[in-house]
């Protein structure tokens, strides 16, 4: 371990004393210092300004540290070989895998330190912005609840569609409307009923109401405080400039203690609405019932998409979320460092850099690349292959490469930080397991094998 530690210390010293690392660090710190003063958000609310600042700062730090990691890792071993400093290192009692491990550790220690600085700088920026004056009523509260806290979001539990369909079948039988129908026909009716319920349970026809149930809420109903019901009704015709009249009946229908006075509100469709609800509306089993009625007789309102209806409640501090977000970013950097080192063990710095830039590009836009390849695939389009006979092998190589490279959008929690949503700990563990322990380790082993197998000296005779 002492050998690995010695190499790691050397790597950190080298990174700090090399101008390229200093430039990156200076740009990062400068950016974090300037952002709070230049970011406008929607130009009106403080909440939006803080959210934009967070999104820009975390995005920029992610990009800058990714580039720094690629440069450092690609130079790490290749430069040792080019400058021949590797001669005096591998002629010491240090296994070559330890050289790779030490370099990786050094880069990741530097990254951890820089992410620590980021944590402090972003916290300071947010602290500064949160104290700026605002003229919008409720803006400061919105900032506090929607950005500067960590909220857990709960989706409504879908009803038991099978049971509902069964009940409907029973009713139809009682009304003798299924007596001439074969068993297969009844089954078809049942299936179609289930499909209908599934498609319609998030829609509320005009003049009707629908009950939504949120379970497993970890809140103390005896405490002062609020839940926030967040929803976005949509118009069936896709209109966005009409208002819907909505009435909310909160509380367990069988528990009078939980029942609240109805709330009626007019809300623009296609916009998120947030309604505070006292914690006392949650019953003793941690279940919250809300009946949403469309008081308008004009059109059916629908909650499309998973996020269009949810219940949010605060469970922690903003800093914890920020820490988790940066921890996930560290895992991404760990993967990039391992990849850069592996490349650095068998090609020169510029070639390794180009390869890793490609990896970085693909990992940031893998989904788009897959779609792009679909669009030119004659199997999808039915047209002639624009790349002629080279199309199939090129697409195969492209798809294989995209599949091998992790999709970084799956390991990006910036959105959660900006919207004050809890970053589940499992995300961090997934990133650590998948990016560091599996892919990072595979690349590390590959780098070690290459470095052990290759000759580190070049012909001189």
């Amino acid at each position: 371990m002492q050998g690995i530690w010695a190499i790691a210390r050397l790597m950190v010293a080298e990174s700090i004393r090399r101008r390229v690392a200093i430039v990156f660090i200076a740009v990062q710190l400068g950016l974090l210092a300037v952002l709070p003063f230049v970011v406008e958000g929607d130009g009106v609310t403080l909440r939006s300004r803080v959210q934009s600042c967070l999104a820009y700062a975390l995005g920029a730090v992610g990009l800058l540290l990714s580039l720094l990691t690629v440069f450092l890792s690609c130079a790490a071993v290749a430069d040792e070989i080019r400058n021949k400093t590797v001669f005096t290192v591998v002629s010491k009692p240090l296994a070559r895998w330890k050289l790779v491990a030490g370099k990786w550790l050094g880069i990741m220690l530097l990254n951890a330190a820089l992410l620590g600085v980021t944590l402090l700088a972003v916290s300071a920026a947010v602290w500064y912005l949160a104290r700026q004056p605002t003229s919008v009523p409720g803006d400061r509260e919105a900032l506090q609840f929607e950005v500067l806290s960590v909220r857990h979001g709960v989706k409504p539990s879908p009803p038991d569609f099978q049971a509902l369909a069964e009940e409907e079948i029973r009713r139809l039988r009682q009304e003798n409307r299924l007596q001439d129908v074969s068993p297969d026909g009844v089954e078809a009716v049942r299936r179609s009923l289930v499909d209908n319920y599934r498609a319609g349970w998030r829609s509320i026809p005009p003049g009707q109401g629908r009950q939504f149930i949120f379970r497993n809420l970890r809140v103390d109903r005896e405490q002062e405080g609020y839940l926030h019901l967040r929803f976005k009704p949509t118009h069936p015709g896709g209109l966005s400039d009409v208002a819907a009249l909505v009435r909310l009946y909160c509380g367990d229908p069988e528990d009078p203690d939980t029942q609240m006075a109805p709330v009626e509100m007019e809300c623009l469709v296609d916009r998120f609405q947030t309604v505070p609800i006292p914690l006392a509306a949650v019953n003793r089993e941690g279940v919250f019932y809300v009946l949403i009625a469309s008081a308008d007789r004009g059109f059916t309102i629908t909650f499309e998409g998973d996020d269009s209806l949810e219940l949010l409640y605060g469970i922690g501090q903003f800093h914890w979320n920020l820490f988790c977000c940066l921890a996930i970013l560290w895992c991404r950097l760990a993967f990039l460092a391992a990849g850069g080192l592996a490349a650095s063990c068998f090609v020169s710095f510029p070639v390794a850099c180009m390869a890793m830039m490609l990896v970085l590009f693909v990992s940031a836009s893998g989904g788009f690349l897959m779609d792009a390849m679909e669009w030119v695939d004659p199997g999808t389009t039915g047209k002639a292959d624009p790349m002629w006979i080279f199309g199939p092998p090129l697409r195969w190589i492209g798809r294989t490469f995209v599949r091998l490279v992790p999709d970084f959008s799956r390991y990006d929690a910036t959105g959660n930080v900006a919207s004050g949503r809890l970053i589940p700990l499992v995300w961090t563990f997934q990133a650590a397991a998948y990016l560091v322990l599996v892919r990072g380790l595979i690349l590390g082993v590959l780098a070690s094998v290459i470095l052990t197998w290759r000759e580190v000296a070049r012909p001189t005779a």
Binding site: N83, S91, K92, P93, L94, T460
Partner: protein
């Protein structure tokens, strides 16, 4: 120098061919080289540029892999990490980290040998003192002159108190004083510490001064190998050296030789001083006159951890070679340095003087096993004694 039966370094049919991208053989850098380096000897690898010396050394260290043939260091393959704990290596140029200073550099290499921190600090201080860079220890190596970088390169090769020291062109870039000091150090490490040293050079004077056995390489092939005295001796000539003679006496001797042996005298000359000796004398006088200079100071006394402790010599090497048959923990240094004596410089010098006297008195010159080495030794001792006295003077 007595050699043990098992060589410290053994190469059999060692061949290295460099190939191009298409695996076509481009250069045969080393061609079927057989090499045996025994314990406690200074072995010279001699040859012009491009003769395969450095390639051979790189194969010994596992930096290059042989195309054909077999190579063993302490009975193990050179890629064995444990073996490297016993080797000190000075490359042909000091490939060091330019962004570190001298102290950080030595500390870094000390860490790679897992030397504990207090011991590491002690060794670093002593080595910096020994190579004359104690005053420049905080300067980055990128700012060093070639000679200074060479000195720090040598210091890193000695940080682990190695049993086998591989020096590739150690005197390149050094002034004559530095060169002399390195040669003295080689002789000291070999004689007093019974270290095995492989010296690779194209500077014939270096090799001649310190090596006991040499291999001459040319075109990657061994051209000659053996005891340096045997290789250099001119058996059909006899040289007589006396104090200055009158021309009439010389004429008398010439006639006597012709009468008794029937042979003619080939030349009669007054021997001139070697340029190296002349240069060293001038500098010594200038130093005594307290003239200042920049750059590295002249080397100091031998580092305690190298000078102290009993020289286990053959026993040590034998145990290393024997140990090679069983796995040894990585990073263990073969010798545990004893605590430093109170007056190391005096002890070292006393030991050296005593040793030199013994060898001078013990056997007649014509039967002496190493007359040239003994001559060099006396020079070293004189120099060491004089320096120690100079250094002691201000304190007393």
């Amino acid at each position: 120098m007595v050699a043990t039966a098992v060589p410290v370094v053994q190469a059999v049919g060692l061949t290295k061919a460099f190939k191009d991208f298409w695996h076509r053989q481009r250069v045969l850098a080393v061609d079927r080289l057989d090499l045996d380096i025994h314990a406690n000897e200074v072995f010279g690898l001699l040859g012009p540029n491009g003769s395969g010396k450095t390639t051979t050394i790189k194969m010994l260290l596992g930096l290059l892999y042989p195309t054909r043939g077999r190579i063993g260091v302490f009975g193990r393959p050179p890629t064995d990490v444990a073996v490297k704990a016993r080797i000190g290596y000075l490359p042909e140029e000091s490939y060091l980290y330019r962004f570190l200073n001298a102290r950080e550099t030595l500390d870094f290499y000390g860490r790679l040998f897992r030397i504990p921190r207090p011991e590491r600090r002690r060794r670093v201080d002593q080595l910096l003192e020994m190579v004359g860079l104690a005053g420049e220890a905080r300067r980055r190596i990128g700012e060093y002159s070639k000679g200074m970088a060479r000195r720090i390169g040598l210091a890193q090769a000695l940080i682990n108190d190695p049993a086998l020291l591989i020096l590739d062109e150690p005197t390149t870039g050094l002034d004559p004083i530095g060169t002399r000091e390195i040669k003295d150090l080689i002789l000291f490490l070999n004689r007093e510490k019974r270290k095995t040293i492989l010296l690779c050079s194209h500077l014939l004077a270096d090799v001649e001064d310190v090596c006991q056995r040499v291999t001459v390489l040319y075109g990657g092939r061994r051209q000659a190998m053996g005891d340096i005295r045997e290789l250099l001796s001119q058996r059909d000539l006899t040289q007589i050296t006396t104090e200055r003679l009158e021309p009439s006496t010389i004429e008398e001797i010439r006639r006597l030789i012709e009468r008794l042996e029937g042979k003619s005298v080939l030349s009669v000359t007054a021997p001139s001083d070697k340029l190296e000796s002349f240069f060293l004398r001038i500098v010594r006088e200038a130093r005594q006159a307290r003239l200042r200079t920049s750059g590295a100071a002249s080397g100091g006394q031998i580092a305690d951890f190298l000078a102290s402790g009993s020289a286990e010599g053959e026993a040590l090497i034998a145990s290393l070679v024997t140990a090679s048959t069983r796995p040894a923990p990585a990073g263990t240094t073969p010798e545990t340095p004893a605590p430093p004596p109170e007056e190391p410089a005096r002890e070292v010098i006393d030991e050296l003087v005593a040793g030199a006297r013994r060898s001078a008195e013990g056997s007649p010159p014509e039967e002496s096993p190493a007359p040239q080495a003994a001559e060099a030794d006396t020079g070293v001792i004189d120099d060491l004694v004089r320096r120690a006295q100079e250094r002691r003077a201000p304190g007393e």
